[in-house]
Symmetry: C2
Subunit: 253 residues, 2 copies
DNA sequence: AAACATTGTTCGTATATAAGAACGAATGCG
DNA sequence: CGCATTCGTTCTTATATACGAACAATGTTT
């Protein structure tokens, strides 16, 4: 480790524990962060003392602590409309009987801020706080539609990776779809991010800029034409409502 | 600032931004953390670079960033039963038509992990991730019932502060109620934390230890006797279900 | 039982950070 | 228009941290 930025160390330690529900031992953290364990020892201790990390005696593993949860929730609270948006997401679910998401774009990834499951038997397995490549989902495409074709190209210098057989891998095809979305204000996706799931999404705009998006995910066997039309109508209504809501209020990503 | 622990600095900076939806300028952060702004400048920069902080050009204020949200959600994900618990919370709301919470205890405070609003007109204004003194709420008392009277006394060396006119301020009265809760496994509270709200809660136990709690909050004008009885029954059912759920699985705070 | 592989922990010194004043750049105000 | 008050930024040196090997303490394997 050549970089001696102690703040960066803290960040790398915390990030190394994302997607690790079991946690990691001090030695494992040291290895994955490429830092000597003697160096991270006091850092990990301080973090654990303040509950940003949690230490499990049995497994002797560290994982993300409750204080991170509290701090992270502050992000949502900053959107002073978070409760209303949650209600709107819930309303979408009630009307469509399918899982709905509210998400924003961070770089080239979609970050889900809210998720409401449908009460139908088959549920999506997505989770809030998760991050996935934008180009592979309807909600991501809705968000990307706020960017110009050049900006989209710049976001994916390595091109588009296949996630399922139906994932779009051509930037030109993607930009073609984004052009449509800019006009129609609705985005579609079929099995491009997970099999047997189709997704419909609308961009949420403020002052002409795309700041967020709503989506509904449907198992394809339930995605008949009239169902899709109904979902589309519900999403357009939600779009209107949330845009009215945030028109005057500050709303940031 | 005498303490030169750089990790602690990061923590203090992040924590100083909790409950500050508007954010703070670099100077304000420096003042509230009692650190020279020249010192925290590189720290804040690194945090912002990695989106743990967010900088607003217009107000030139820093606030909690999206990456904190992602990291914090990892805490919930670690409870591999989080989705089922969310469903259970939702079920409580559907059956009671009132706001339900799921929370754990951290020190002497309640930390809400999940919240589901009722669709009724008047809603609670609580928020997930928030932290409030345990003794003032039904859910807090349910959680405290896992402690002995001595432990409870130790938790509040300064005694109990008044939040509303009806807040319990005597540790002995509190411990008396906790004794009841240990026997009956149900906790009540009326306007002790917020006016016009009454609350009913059940502790969630694993191996005889209280690890979490469910609660339902009701505006007092809707809290008739038969309503309370119904809520009590729903909560007992939820308690049974979640205890079965976590019996075999690892479940930690 | 002994060797091994874990875990976390300590320590001296090279090296990077922290303090705090002083700087420049905006903005607000009289 | 200029004084005053923000904002962020830079700089030098005292001072604290990071390295990384060697440490103890468990638990696992042979």
């Amino acid at each position: 480790m050549e970089d001696h930025n102690p703040t960066l160390r803290v960040i790398r330690i915390l990030e190394s524990l994302i997607g690790q529900p079991e946690g990691k031992t001090l030695t494992e953290i040291a290895k994955s962060c490429e830092m000597p364990k003697g160096s991270i020892f006091p850092i990990v201790h301080t973090l654990a003392d303040h509950k940003l990390l949690r230490y499990d005696d049995l497994s002797s593993k560290y994982s993300i602590g409750i204080r991170c949860y509290e701090i992270g929730n502050e992000y949502i609270m900053q959107m002073n409309v978070s409760d209303q948006i949650r209600e709107l997401t819930k309303k979408i679910v009630n009307q469509c009987r399918e899982t709905a998401h509210f998400a924003v774009l961070d770089g080239s990834d979609v970050v889900y801020l809210m998720k409401q499951d449908s009460s139908e038997a088959i549920r999506m397995v997505s989770s809030i706080g998760k991050r996935i490549p934008a180009y592979s989902t309807a909600i991501g495409k809705a968000l990307l539609s706020g960017y110009s074709d050049e900006q989209v190209h710049a976001l994916y210098p390595e091109g588009l990776q296949k996630i399922t057989d139906k994932t779009i891998t051509s930037l030109d095809v993607l930009c073609g779809q984004l052009g449509e979305i800019r006009k129609t204000k609705i985005a579609y996706e079929t099995e491009e991010s997970s099999l047997n799931i189709t997704c419909i999404a609308v961009p949420v705009e403020k002052n002409g800029e795309v700041v967020a998006a709503f989506s509904v995910s449907i198992p394809i066997f339930r995605a008949a034409k009239e169902k899709k039309e109904q979902v589309k109508a519900v999403l357009f209504e939600a779009k209107e409502e949330v845009e009215t809501l945030i028109r005057t209020l500050p709303f940031h990503i």
